[in-house]
């Protein structure tokens, strides 16, 4: 471990490895960008038959218009430009596309969470459903559900549904599973001792649910919600691919891949990363707030 004296400070010890790794990754990214775009730039120079030096080539690789791998600062500039360069509702603005995807994600997330919780409640209260439905819920996850996305779009389109709802249904279908599984686990997590105590008070099954099962399921609920919200985002993005949707992060990815706009693809990826971490952060904040209200320390 380098420099024992600096590592005395806790924040250095905590963030130094992360910062080093990130810096190394960015450095690798730059080297890779130069290496991958080199032949592209060399071809361009040789076509124009101008004399060039190595430095010209390197600066060319880092500012190419359609590079194989754009340099980090190009991506950052593209993100900055498409976020602040246009009004937020212009179709070239990344904010607009992120909002389109975000609404589909949130609607799908809410639908999926409700479906998952209702399924879990039904499964916990009915042995028949537990035995007959649970194996199929698990099996449904081994099926690449995203493969269903185009059909969903076609079927719902034939029924006259376009735009937001089909995308949200796909996200909901993707994200109900972790919630259902987590909630079944959580609702059955109270200890037998506590359940027996509730029985001695002759609690009805509804009282048992609200006073014992639900509170003990809350930590499980949030753990699954955190997983589910990213899955929901993935679902929304992928659902935008086969539809040829005009707006949304998925549409930006598709358009970028059709027209060879690599920088646009990377900017859309950054936008999705920001969305994902923001959504996880919000779920984490709500979780902390709820935990405090419920008396956790």
């Amino acid at each position: 471990m380098p420099s024992g004296s600096l590592m005395r400070y806790p924040w250095v010890e905590r963030y130094a490895p992360l910062a080093t790794t990130v810096l190394v990754l960015i450095a690798i990214w730059y080297v890779a960008a130069i290496a991958m775009n080199l032949s592209l730039v060399r071809d361009a120079f040789e076509r124009e038959e101008t004399a060039y030096a190595l430095t010209d080539m390197i600066s060319g690789t880092l500012s190419a218009k359609r590079p194989l791998l754009p340099a980090p600062h190009q991506v950052a500039a593209a993100v900055y430009d498409s976020v602040f360069g246009y009004s937020p509702l212009a179709p070239r603005s990344l904010v607009y596309h992120s909002l389109v995807t975000l609404t589909a994600t949130l609607l799908g997330f809410v639908l999926g969470a409700l479906l998952g919780i209702v399924l879990a409640l039904m499964i916990v209260h009915s042995r028949v459903l537990e035995r007959s439905l649970m194996p199929w819920i698990i099996c449904s996850q081994m099926v690449p559900i995203l493969a269903l996305a185009p059909i969903f779009i076609v079927v719902l389109g034939a029924l006259g549904l376009h735009g937001l709802l089909p995308k949200s249904i796909i996200s909901a279908y993707l994200c109900f599973f972790p919630i259902a599984i987590g909630m079944v686990k959580g609702l059955t997590s109270p200890e037998p001792l506590h359940i027996e105590l509730m029985r001695t008070w002759s609690a009805t099954s509804r009282q048992m649910l609200w006073k014992l099962r639900w509170p003990s399921a809350v930590p499980y609920l949030f753990a699954s919600l955190r997983v589910a919200i990213t899955i929901s985002l993935i679902g929304a993005i992928v659902a935008e691919l086969p539809t040829g949707a005009e707006a949304g992060i998925g549409a930006r990815l598709l358009a970028g891949s059709y027209y060879g706009q690599t920088i646009q693809i990377w900017a859309a990826l950054i936008a999705s990363a920001v969305l994902a971490s923001g959504l996880i952060g919000i779920v984490g904040l709500v979780e902390r707030g709820v935990a405090r209200r419920m008396g956790a320390h």
Binding site: P17, V143, S257, S277
Partner: protein
């Protein structure tokens, strides 16, 4: 289950069959029950339901299931008649209701059974979901064909199955392209690299502390979005799919394996040190075995992720082969039965892959408490 409720349920089912028979003896009788076999099967189903209602205990399940099979078979045979398919009358639907009611009663009853012997319990655990699925497929088939739902919206399962059977060579080629080339190769690369990096990060703590937050961050990202870039780099054929799969599977493996490698207890580590074991020895004897449950967890998560990644990558460009390619083109041509055949293929491949990983897990981590019941 309460025998009175059971008796009532089977009586209702028998009543529905009687109504169906009465309705079919009207002017449209020859069209509904034209071959006498169907009439006999229906009447037999009614009798079996009556027997089940009379017994109203565990034995009635056999009669109920036999009756359900007869009634269900009768409705399916009726659907071969073009006069019924698409415009089925009340008599037909009464029969369907009877079959559904009896099968629901049987499933509920079987699920409520608590046999003492463990092997019977295992059989039951498989039988109940299978019966449930059979009932769902039956209702799907009968509903789609009885109401005449246009096949563009939702094909009947039998149509998809026929399509599946008749286009086996094409499905086989798609399977090889997507699964054998894209998924398996990418899965091996991604999981292998994830495990290697995890071992390195476990050896050098500085690297580990830098990589763990990054790994957590990246495994929460919608990484399938990288697919268009990979298609641009590696071309339309399988290497780009394998690259997407490798990337998607890398981070879950890294995070899980890193957690698993530090899961061994202090006592075990001290023991290794007291044996003067060097790092590779403790790695192979202690750290890796202790990490196996976590590694298999990642392998199972990745089994699903890999298939999804490969199929999504195919939406961005493929040679004219592959499950994802076929799904998107056939959906565009409104050949929905072919799409469902491909989905069935993907489902079977996904479940088979997952099942194999789960079997390997059982064989390798047999010592884990969750398998020693």
């Amino acid at each position: 289950m309460d025998p009175r409720k059971l008796r009532l349920g089977f009586l209702l089912a028998a009543g529905a069959i009687v109504i169906a028979l009465l309705l079919s003896s009207g002017p449209r009788a020859p069209s509904l029950m034209s071959p006498p076999v169907i009439w006999q099967a229906t009447a037999g189903a009614g009798l079996l339901f009556l027997c089940a209602a009379w017994l109203a205990d565990a034995r009635s399940m056999t009669f109920g299931l036999a009756g359900t099979a007869l009634a269900g078979g009768a409705t399916l045979a009726m659907l071969r008649n073009p006069a019924i398919a698409g415009s089925a009358g009340a008599g037909f639907w009464m029969l369907v209701v009877a079959a559904w009611l009896a099968s629901a009663l049987c499933v509920v009853n079987l699920a409520a059974l608590r046999p003492v012997r463990i092997d019977r319990q295992n059989i039951l655990n498989i039988l109940v979901p299978l019966l449930f699925a059979a009932a769902v497929f039956y209702l799907w088939e009968v509903g789609v064909r009885g109401f005449g739902v246009p096949p563009v919206l939702l094909p009947s399962p039998s149509a998809a199955a026929i399509k599946f059977a008749s286009s086996l060579p094409m499905l086989g080629a798609d399977f090889v392209q997507t699964f054998v080339r894209g998924v398996l190769i990418g899965y091996a690369i991604g999981c292998g690299a994830g495990l290697l990096v995890a071992i390195l990060a476990h050896r050098y703590a500085f690297l580990g502390r830098g990589l763990l937050p990054l790994g957590n961050f990246f495994s929460a990202l919608p990484l399938v979005g990288i697919a268009p870039i990979m298609v641009m780099w590696f071309g339309f054929d399988w290497p780009s799919k394998a690259a997407v799969v490798a990337l998607v599977t890398f981070f879950p493996m890294l995070v899980n394996a890193l957690t698993g490698l530090s899961a061994s207890g202090h006592i075990e580590r001290d023991l290794m040190r007291s044996y003067a074991a060097n790092h590779s020895q403790s790695l192979s004897k202690l750290y890796l075995p202790a990490a196996m449950p976590f590694i298999f967890n990642a392998l199972k998560i990745n089994a699903t992720l890999a298939l999804i990644g490969a199929i999504v990558a195919e939406f961005f460009g493929t040679p004219t082969q592959g499950i994802g390619f076929r799904i998107s083109t056939e959906a565009g041509r409104m050949a929905i039965d072919m799409v469902w055949a491909e989905i069935a293929l993907a489902a079977v491949a996904g479940m088979g892959f997952y099942g194999l990983v789960a079997l390997a897990e059982r064989a390798i981590t047999f010592w884990h408490p969750s398998y020693r019941t």
